[in-house]
Subunit: 312 residues, 2 copies
């Protein structure tokens, strides 16, 4: 059973329950509209030793920061501000002392960067590896929320940074080279929190999500939920220095924002984003009425058996 | 380092961050007051194989229900209704198929009992044991919230059910007798959700929490946060059939509500509770201005080196 197969089964199993006002499974976060025009969003990510990280290939401080970063990225992908987190951590005996405190220091430093308090959680012993779960809560004006389902045919598809650095860094780590610059990028993801909030305030931005499983996989979620297709120009995918096109399209954990925007506003949006953040937006293609995901090389379709990255 | 030592260090480490309107670490749940007189509450609990459960001594369905139950109990202990949950689960290969579906069926059945939708979470592979994290969200009128810090000198101390069944059941399981009636109680905790919501609506109820680590330990949290002491009458502790006084006072995971109430309203409260739920409230002692926790036998102090139960 794949991760998505299991999630589909879960969704069916719970379909008959009341929603209590929540928009549930399917987006980066669950959404709870409030009565005052605001909305809260909620996301959880679980990291397990040996699957998401190797203790020998990351510092405790880096892991503390990364555990939070991947959740802040999910909140930012909804277009709103992260306002609090809960942290659950299971620690084997040999990680309960200074390792745990270093981990918390990394978690605290990134929390401080975005003014995000730690409001709860759980700590427990583990008989096997380290396991970490973070739940992040975001808050913003309901009209700012960006969902995966809102792409429109004709939209320009953007990514808000270069891709592939994390995927190539992971390849380095797995090949026994944990000290390369891209391995460091993999261990230290930087969520685009301010960028996500800014894009949330722009009505011309339609669908948005963060790239955690790779463009080839993640864009598919937007297309499925929006009932659209897309054409992506291979030569416009921004490949990070030291990476390669295939890793940029299929590698995981870049945590850059992927979004679609009204084409007539796309050029001004990119110029204002560049002025605000000092980095360019990269237009990589366009949403089509249907037809799934088509890769184009110099305008001509190219059949590529490219898939995203899965931890399952 | 103990669990509470680590939590104290975390609290100090994060003290300088903004609170974004949240009441954080220290109660059963974090609290977020909303602008319309309501409040949301949040709690997370992590269960790890070999520490919180043995796969050989529980069914997947029981574990699915229990993972949710312990979180619903935390929400109920705040006096409000659980309105949604997020579930993160790490599964080794040998638990990814029918085991996972049975687990979800148990989780769904208890969710349906209380109309609590599953709105998000994460599923991933594990290289070692099963790990489960549930985040529960509760909602209610802000004045109904019951906190650990609100006990007043003179209050009557109540428990809302008999104690010790789960602790004795755990002893049975660890002694190789997983088929006793109390072992089944341990595996199938029943959160007092309706009782908690009802008690939340009563102004004469002051401090409240759920008994997860045992009376000897948990009452200490109320006393510390309320800056009070307590006298507990040993002969009034309601010992579940088949258990014993020490296990009733020190065993974990009974998930009964522990609360304090204004003494002049205590008798009517207990009568109305009995009429509503068909079970008695048990008055077991009283809050004192200071002096820590004192055990009384026939009105005379008895020195007992009793502590609660810890998973850390």
């Amino acid at each position: 059973m794949t991760e998505f197969g299991f999630i589909d089964q879960i969704r069916r199993l719970f379909a008959a329950l009341p929603d209590n006002g929540f928009e549930g499974i399917g987006d980066d976060c669950a959404v709870l509209p409030l009565t005052d025009g605001e909305a809260l969003v909620f996301t959880s990510d679980l990291l397990t030793e040996g699957v998401h990280f190797l203790r020998s290939a990351t510092t405790a401080r880096e892991l503390g920061s990364k555990s939070l970063a991947v959740n802040l990225s999910d909140v930012a992908a909804m277009g709103v501000r992260p306002v609090a987190t809960l942290l659950s951590i299971a620690l084997p005996r040999d990680a309960a002392g200074s390792w745990a405190l270093e981990f918390m220091e990394g978690y605290r430093a990134l929390s401080a960067s975005y003014g995000t308090p730690l409001v709860g959680g759980d700590t427990t012993r583990s008989e096997s590896g380290i396991t970490i779960n973070v739940t992040a809560i975001g808050r913003g004006a309901a009209p700012c929320l960006k969902r995966r389902r809102d792409a429109l045919a004709g939209d320009t598809v953007f990514v808000a940074g270069e891709l592939g650095a994390s995927g190539t860094g992971l390849q380095d780590i797995l090949a026994g080279r944990p000290d390369t610059p891209l391995a460091a990028v993999h261990r230290n993801p930087q969520p685009q929190v301010d960028e996500g909030i800014w894009l949330g305030g722009r009505a011309e931005v339609h669908a948005m999500m963060d790239l955690s499983d790779g463009l080839a996989s993640d864009l598919g979620h937007i297309l499925e939920l929006s009932h659209t297709g897309a054409e992506i120009d291979l030569e416009r995918i921004p490949v990070a220095a030291g990476s390669d096109l295939r890793t940029a399209a299929c590698g995981g954990e870049d945590y850059k924002l992927l979004f679609t925007a009204a084409p007539e506003a796309a050029e001004r949006l990119a110029a204002e984003f560049q002025a605000q953040f000092g980095i360019p937006l990269h237009p990589i293609g366009r949403i089509t009425p249907d037809g799934g995901l088509t890769w184009l090389r110099n305008g001509r379709p190219e059949a590529l058996d490219w898939h995203g990255f899965s931890h399952y």
